[in-house]
């Protein structure tokens, strides 16, 4: 999740589209939005992927709106209870909400950027403890898998399904280290040595 050129997370995040409102007329680029016009006229709205939108916005040819995953509705839901929002549904499959948020944040001006950063950080910290708790609970089921809980606890399971990709990485890290500890505590140090 860096500004690293090769970071897969960054590449996937930049593939997401944002709604841009063009300020100038751009000849012969109408096909970008999938429309049938030849030119883009001012005040025209198009969905442009971020990697393209970067340049367009920095060159001041368009403005963009904050995308739906970070709208006020989502913001309010997160402020109320960060753990109940399903982050994995908000952005398309394969990208994380946090990574996308960071990409957008880099493009915003200072004031909105700081606001956005606070939202991301508060959400992350609010969900972190639950992520780790669940990971340690799942350590008992083995290092991989353990995804199907038999449907007995549905609230934790729904939380797990709503985890963002970055949170899933953390989950796996915590689960593995808890599993390793458990395994070590259970095996005996004296029994396996050969006695000659």
């Amino acid at each position: 999740m860096d500004n690293d050129y090769f970071s897969i997370d960054a590449i996937l995040a930049e593939n997401q589209k944002v709604q841009c409102k063009f300020k100038q007329r751009i000849p012969e680029m109408g096909h970008l939005g999938g429309g049938s016009e030849r030119d883009i006229t001012p005040l025209n709205k198009r969905q442009i992927p971020i990697w393209l939108a970067y340049i367009i916005i920095y060159s001041d040819w368009a403005d963009f709106d904050i995308p739906r995953p970070f709208s006020n509705k989502v913001r309010n839901a997160l402020r109320a209870e960060p753990r109940s929002v399903r982050l994995s549904n908000l952005v398309g499959a394969g990208t994380g909400w946090y990574v996308f948020g960071k990409t957008i944040m880099d493009m915003l001006g200072d004031e909105q950027g700081v606001e956005m950063s606070e939202m991301l950080v508060t959400t992350f910290k609010g969900r972190l403890v639950d992520v780790i708790d669940q990971a340690q609970h799942f350590a008992a089921l083995g290092p991989v898998g353990g995804g199907g809980g038999g449907g007995i606890d549905s609230a934790p399971q729904m939380f797990r399904e709503g985890l963002d990709t970055t949170e899933r990485e953390l989950f796996v890290l915590a689960q593995e280290s808890a599993w390793r500890m458990k395994k070590w505590y259970e095996e005996s140090s004296g029994g396996t040595k050969r006695v000659s």
């Binding site: 950063s117 972190l128 403890v129 890290l173 593995e176 280290s177 140090s189």
Partner: protein
């Protein structure tokens, strides 16, 4: 690095046990041994029934062959652990325990349980200590910020357990942070 992905994040517990086994421990030998040179140094001579200090790994080896008795370190006793447990439960910080207490205690309880008094009570005290400290780590998780975290008196096994995801989470927080004065 040619390590598999899962091993890159931290040291494994058996490796920590190996490192902890280099600590010196006191034994009562049952056999005689001359001063022998090992890679890490010369130990011995062992003259029963005089006590001697040797590395833990030699002690375990001799014990399994029934050639010595191990003298429990002073912290591996009910009184010491009980007082530490009480301290743990009453104070917000972590209590002071030997840095590698988890590894050494597990090894000694497995191998030399007949040389230690009240092994059941000690086992349960150690378990309680571990759980109390884990609960404190969990609280510390809520205070996580991107720049620093100071948890004093954690033991090596506990540090190793929480390091992967603590460090990763701090990294993510660094990415998500945005200073008001930079950019544009």
């Amino acid at each position: 690095m040619s390590l598999p992905q899962s091993l890159r994040t931290s040291i494994t517990p058996p490796e920590l046990e190996f490192i902890a086994s280099q600590q010196l421990i006191e034994i009562i030998p049952l056999i005689a041994m001359e001063k022998t040179a090992f890679i890490s140094g010369a130990f011995g001579p062992l003259q029963p029934p005089r006590r001697a200090k040797i590395p833990l790994w030699i002690a375990i080896n001799l014990k399994l062959k029934k050639k010595c008795h191990i003298v429990a370190p002073e912290w591996l006793s009910v009184e010491f652990l009980q007082s530490r447990l009480d301290e743990e439960l009453s104070e917000p910080g972590y209590s002071r325990l030997p840095f590698r207490y988890a590894e050494v205690s597990k090894v000694l309880l497995d191998v030399a349980s007949d040389d230690i008094q009240n092994t059941d009570k000690i086992r349960s005290l150690l378990k309680d200590l571990r759980e109390a400290r884990q609960a404190k780590s969990r609280e510390g998780l809520e205070e996580l910020n991107r720049s620093e975290l100071s948890l004093s008196n954690l033991s090596s096994m506990e540090i190793n357990e929480i390091r992967p995801f603590f460090v990763h989470a701090m990294g993510i927080l660094t990415h998500l942070h945005r200073d008001a004065s930079t950019e544009d």
